[in-house]
């Protein structure tokens, strides 16, 4: 069974059709990249998957369950976590507090006025695990708003991981970063995929990263599905080349 099945989704804002009849299947443990020129509808597509808004038509099935009309917070509960193109964090809280909130919500404690010692230990264990996995331990007590752009990105990914998701949606994780930071994030994403076996859907601008990381690539152009295949197939696809050459990146 597929982890994620997006079936013929369309999203129209008034007369503007941002995503048109796109289908996408992601297998468990797969790393899928979604690419396309600016304005191809990548982020809208992501917003549809994560439940930012419902599609105009089409179906979204996650882990065998139809989530088309589920609000965002329930999709998170079923195991879907996302990051944003412009980093979304809690700037005035520390790194650890950021991750801690995610862990508590994920463990179902969001309405609790207190935690038992056992529950608190469970939260702590999960936070510790994520902090170690992302290498943020040394910055745990700093305010996220003070961190470098790259570290804020990592913190955002750490929050997503604290949700124990089965599917990670990463919207341009290396956007606006220097070479060093890009490399670190790329390593982290690769580790999450290879060693921790996360299913990942990734929007990415940097072609080198995409062709390096992804198992399969989906290309969107002007809201339509242009092509899908392995990195090699995509590299040799004429329609893709035309789309990219036609619109200079």
């Amino acid at each position: 069974m597929n982890m994620l099945e997006v079936q013929n989704v369309t999203k129209a804002f008034g007369s503007l059709v941002a995503v048109s009849d796109v289908t996408l299947h992601v297998a468990p443990g797969e790393m899928r990249a979604v690419i396309g020129p600016n304005g191809a509808g990548k982020t809208t597509f992501f917003n549809l998957i994560s439940g930012f808004f419902p599609p105009t038509s089409g179906r979204i099935v996650f882990d065998g369950k139809d989530v088309t009309t589920e609000p965002a917070y329930r999709r998170v509960a079923t195991g879907m976590a996302r990051t944003f193109q412009i980093t979304e964090i809690f700037p005035e809280l520390t790194v650890r507090e950021n991750v801690n909130i995610a862990a508590e919500v994920a463990l179902g404690y969001r309405l609790k006025p207190w935690l038992s010692a056992q529950q608190a230990a469970g939260v702590k264990a999960r936070v510790d695990e994520v902090m170690e996995l992302t290498g943020l331990e040394s910055k745990a007590r700093r305010l996220v708003g003070e961190l470098s752009h790259g570290d804020q990105r990592v913190a955002e990914i750490a929050m997503s991981l604290a949700l124990s998701p089965r599917l990670l949606l990463l919207d341009e994780p290396t956007a606006g970063m220097g070479e060093q930071e890009t490399e670190e994030i790329t390593q982290l994403v690769r580790r999450l995929h290879k060693e921790n076996n996360y299913s990942i859907v990734l929007i990415e601008h940097d072609m080198q990263i995409v062709f390096h990381l992804a198992d399969r690539i989906t290309v969107l152009d002007q809201g339509h599905l242009l092509a899908e295949g392995t990195p090699e197939e995509i590299a040799n696809n004429e329609a893709v080349q035309a789309a990219y050459l036609g619109k200079t990146e």
Partner: protein, 337 residues
């Protein structure tokens, strides 16, 4: 949280409670009187209750006077018509204000920012007009009279809070302690942390799996319950409730208390309330044009000290006076939405 911050927190807490507990003894020495001190504590609770929503959830209600006033009228009416038990009357007042808040909250919880503020102002006025117009029940424009807080009977000992202002002060302080204790406890809980998360970044909170509307509604309702408690005590203090307690100008005053003290601070609103109440008392005894002074304070406050007295970096100011300086982290008090 680093240990040093924790220590300074305990010191602050110790100083605040020491001052509050000994207030009846030092207040007359600085020219105050018991009812003024009681009013400070009550308005402090009102401001801290609203700040639970404003400062710690990031949602601006400009209509909390309605729930403050409902608490007052509920308590007063209960004493006048149903019961001779002060605590029971208070409970009824709190329920009236809190439940009204919860119902209204459900209606408006999807609105945000300026819109939310406008809707709360406008709905708050409904209760004002009810109190103003329903002469036969509420006394209309003249206010609700004809009730008195009743002594509390503990069996072996009767606390005569009516004739002994100092006892009433400690009664108020006890309820203040319960109210603020409950809020402080909630803010340190997983639920409280989701509220901070919403304040910090609503979108992120939503995509961590927090149903935003539900949590804002809870925060709004809780805040209304606590502010109604303050209102109920206010009615007991004066043995009187009047419609202006429900008016939006009263809401504005509670908000300015918060901003005066410091919006990001738990205890700041208490300090803001103290400044405001004392100033209002002093100015209105001094001049009939106290509204102008108050208005001027609002304006200067917003333009020059938007972070309030606790938001000012006192440590840094002392250091610079002493000629030493240290890099401290920037605090952003400006943007809550």
């Amino acid at each position: 949280m680093t240990p040093t911050i924790d220590r300074s927190k305990y010191v602050t807490l110790g100083v605040i409670w020491l001052l509050l507990l000994t207030m009846p003894y030092w207040l007359p020495m600085v020219g105050g009187y018991m009812a003024l001190g009681t009013r400070v504590v009550i308005m402090g609770l009102a401001a801290m209750s609203l700040n639970f929503l404003l400062g710690f959830t990031g949602v601006l209600s400009f209509g909390h006077a309605a729930f403050f006033g409902l608490g007052a009228y509920g308590t007063g009416l209960a004493l006048k018509y149903f019961t001779h038990s002060t605590p029971l009357a208070l409970v009824l007042g709190v329920l009236l204000g809190g439940i009204a808040g919860a119902v209204l909250g459900a209606l408006i919880v999807r609105r945000r920012g300026v819109y939310f503020a406008m809707v709360t102002i406008a709905f708050g006025q409904v209760f004002y007009f009810i109190a103003f117009r329903w002469n036969s029940l509420t006394g209309g424009d003249d206010g609700l009279r004809g009730f008195e807080r009743q002594p509390i009977d503990f069996g072996v000992w009767q606390a005569d809070i009516l004739h002994r202002p100092i006892l009433f002060y400690y009664f108020v302080l006890l309820l203040f302690a319960i109210g603020t204790g409950a809020m402080g406890f909630l803010l340190r809980s997983p639920f409280g942390r989701t509220l901070l998360a919403i304040r910090e970044n609503e979108r992120r909170a939503r995509f961590l799996g927090v149903p935003i509307e539900q949590h804002i509604w809870l925060s709004f309702s809780l805040s209304c319950f606590f502010v109604a408690l303050a209102g109920g005590m206010y009615a007991l203090l004066n043995n009187f409730a009047d419609p202006t307690m429900l008016n939006y100008t009263q809401s504005g005053e509670i908000v300015i208390m918060i901003v005066l003290g410091g919006i990001r601070s738990f205890w700041g609103p208490l300090i803001g309330a103290a400044i405001f109440v004392v100033l209002q008392d002093y100015l209105s005894s001094l001049t009939t044009n106290w509204m102008s002074f108050l208005g001027t304070i609002f304006v200067l406050m917003v333009l020059f000290f938007p972070r309030g007295v606790l938001g000012l970096n006192w440590t840094e100011m002392f250091r610079s006076v002493l000629g030493r300086s240290r890099q401290t982290r920037p605090q952003e008090g400006g943007n809550l939405s």
